[in-house]
């Protein structure tokens, strides 16, 4: 087994809720509460969960855009949280992110050459001419015309803008790219094109992706492994085929059956999950999912189930499953 490119162990991120005299923390929002996983080079990890489950917080902490509360992140042999600012800055070249909404993530007042060239300007000592040709090369790589360099973001459609964001993320040839809902704000045809592009680029440049999405069909299409998050914790983890075809956790089952597909006949075929994600300030006792779980037993309200291997690297945190073994 090669060294994992990213190793996250017991990562926690708590946000204080301040109040009272001197604004002392009176409670903590446990946005990410003890998450561990590994990604091998060239592997795609899909991160799935409802909004508010901590997917985005997890990623911002892993990228060290925010300070973690506890835990360790080893990227490519370096302990991210033990590094100095200078070293970290150097390492940032290797981790890039593509944000959800290409209408917000591109500065409307900058030319495409400046948007895509910005990482180059920061991390390399390229001359203006060299940079311009590099930007043109990058645009070509993501399937945009070279003439795009002297245009503004508003001259492009949603799908094209997402390509620009991808070009910018790939400008420094990173090793790990985080895709935060890369296709959620564009339509199906552009989505299909972007997904194919991402797959091609991965093969060509040897990238590793972390894909955040709430569209399970997209995750199924792209990811090798899937981590399902609920209220700051991973509740199920395993190979994509296993998680999709034999979901072990009731929450994963609920997520999967909530997606309407063209093969379905009526609304009765999709399942609704009662209630919404509870507050992360006071998560429910025992299993965090038990108040919404249709299979909950007595033990679920008392003890928190550990994330255990069900066989073949398929992990799930559910008492019911673990009793069966």
């Amino acid at each position: 087994m090669p060294e994992p490119i990213l190793k996250v162990s017991d990562l926690k991120k708590y946000y204080p809720v301040r109040g009272g005299f001197f604004s002392k923390p009176v409670a903590w929002v446990k946005a990410v509460d003890g998450v561990s996983f590994e990604i091998q080079p060239g592997e795609n990890l899909g991160l799935v969960g409802e909004s508010g489950c901590g997917k985005s917080t997890l990623v911002t902490v892993v990228l060290k855009l925010e300070e973690p509360t506890a835990g360790k992140v080893i990227f490519d042999g370096h302990d991210l949280f033990a590094m100095h600012q200078q070293e970290l800055r150097h390492l940032r070249k290797d981790i890039q992110i593509v944000f959800q909404d290409p209408f917000w993530s591109l500065d409307p007042r900058l030319l495409i050459k400046d948007i895509v060239g910005e990482p180059l300007k920061i991390h390399t000592r390229m001359g203006a001419d060299e940079m311009l040709s590099k930007v043109e090369e990058l645009l070509e790589m993501v399937g945009l015309p070279r003439e795009g360099t002297f245009k503004y973001p508003h001259e492009f459609s949603g799908g094209q803008r997402q390509r620009i964001a991808i070009a910018r993320a790939l400008a420094l040839r990173p090793k790990l790219v985080v895709l935060d809902e890369p296709t959620s704000s564009i339509d199906v045809l552009s989505q299909a094109q972007i997904l194919e592009l991402l797959k091609d680029l991965k093969d060509k440049l040897g990238l590793t992706y972390i894909l955040i999405s709430h569209d399970l069909s997209v995750v199924n299409y792209m990811a090798d492994k899937i981590a399902v998050m609920y209220l700051g914790k991973i509740v199920e983890y395993g190979m994509a085929e296993m998680v999709f075809n034999q979901p072990a956790h009731p929450y994963t089952k609920a997520l999967l059956s909530a997606v309407p597909t063209i093969d379905m006949q009526s609304l009765d075929d999709i399942a609704t999950l009662e209630g919404s994600v509870p507050s992360a300030i006071n998560p429910p006792q025992g299993c965090r999912f038990h108040p919404r779980c249709c299979e909950a037993k007595e033990i679920c309200g008392q003890q928190e189930p550990p994330l255990l291997d069900l066989g073949d690297g398929h992990l799930a945190a559910c008492h019911l499953r673990q009793m069966l073994i």
């Binding site: 959620s184 299909a192 094109q193 299409y221 309407p260």
Partner: protein
Amino acid sequence: MGNYFAIENLKVNYKTFEGEKQVLDLEHLALDKGETFGLVGESGAGKTVLALTILRLLATPPGVIAGGQIIFDGEDLLGKSQKEMGKIRGRRMSMIFQDPMSTLNPVFTVGEQIIRVIQHNKKVSRKTATQDALTLIERVNLPDAANIMSKYAHELSGGQRQRIIIAMALSCGAEFLIADEPTRNLDVTIQAGILKLIAQLQKELNVTVLFIANNLGLVSVTCDRVGILYQGMIVEIGTVKEVLKTPLHPYTHTLLNAVPRSKQAKIDLSQVGLMGKLTESVAGCRYYGRCLRKVERCRVDAPLLTAVDGTHLVACHRLHEEAV
């Protein structure tokens, strides 16, 4: 087909620096009372323009309604003045917009906003309006209605906000509802709830729904019939089963193939090009530039929607050639 709601020869243009461009060209579209009709297309196909034109909310200029009729319950909506439309909007026709965050006013409580809608449309006292608002909030399955009434939009979750919008849309007995991608930006689990709510209310109140979507899966579970819109024209129309199970137009095939299914099945991108630019007048088929099955005739002669099999209509020359 009943004449409850029908669009005949509707043409909508947009004025641009390069001249007027046609964004909608609907020959005929009729909806029966109580049915759910799905309208599917890429962004830029003209779905929202159609919705705004029906409600006469389209900004003119740049929009120009160049001709046609929109018949609603025996009356032509395009012939009405804005004052008359004001009485129809909200009371008889209503719309759920895409983004519940920008539809709700951030500086008033949601309760206040529902009460105002009710008082604007009905001559009732504030007390009755408040009572109505409470019943409405309960009706859209939000618990603790009194508490919700006093909240501002930012204090509610996306799903709750969308439920409030639905409550508002149906607050004054609208019988025709346009839902413009009502579950965009919502989680799948929340989406399922909203879809079921719309379906349930529709059954209870016998509302006709024009459901705009860009996801065929959504249409499949919610709608009775579906129309595929491409550059302002309907290229295929029929029952959900007909269109999604036996698609005939090349564009419908492309849309269906673009949905990622599994890792093994690579998405076939050969047919996915970019939507062509809108031009002043198109002589032939609008899909010509992207179509893989085009022949010379498609370039010069625009195909008309022709019945293939009862209720299933398609606008494609190739298909009719083969059928003959």
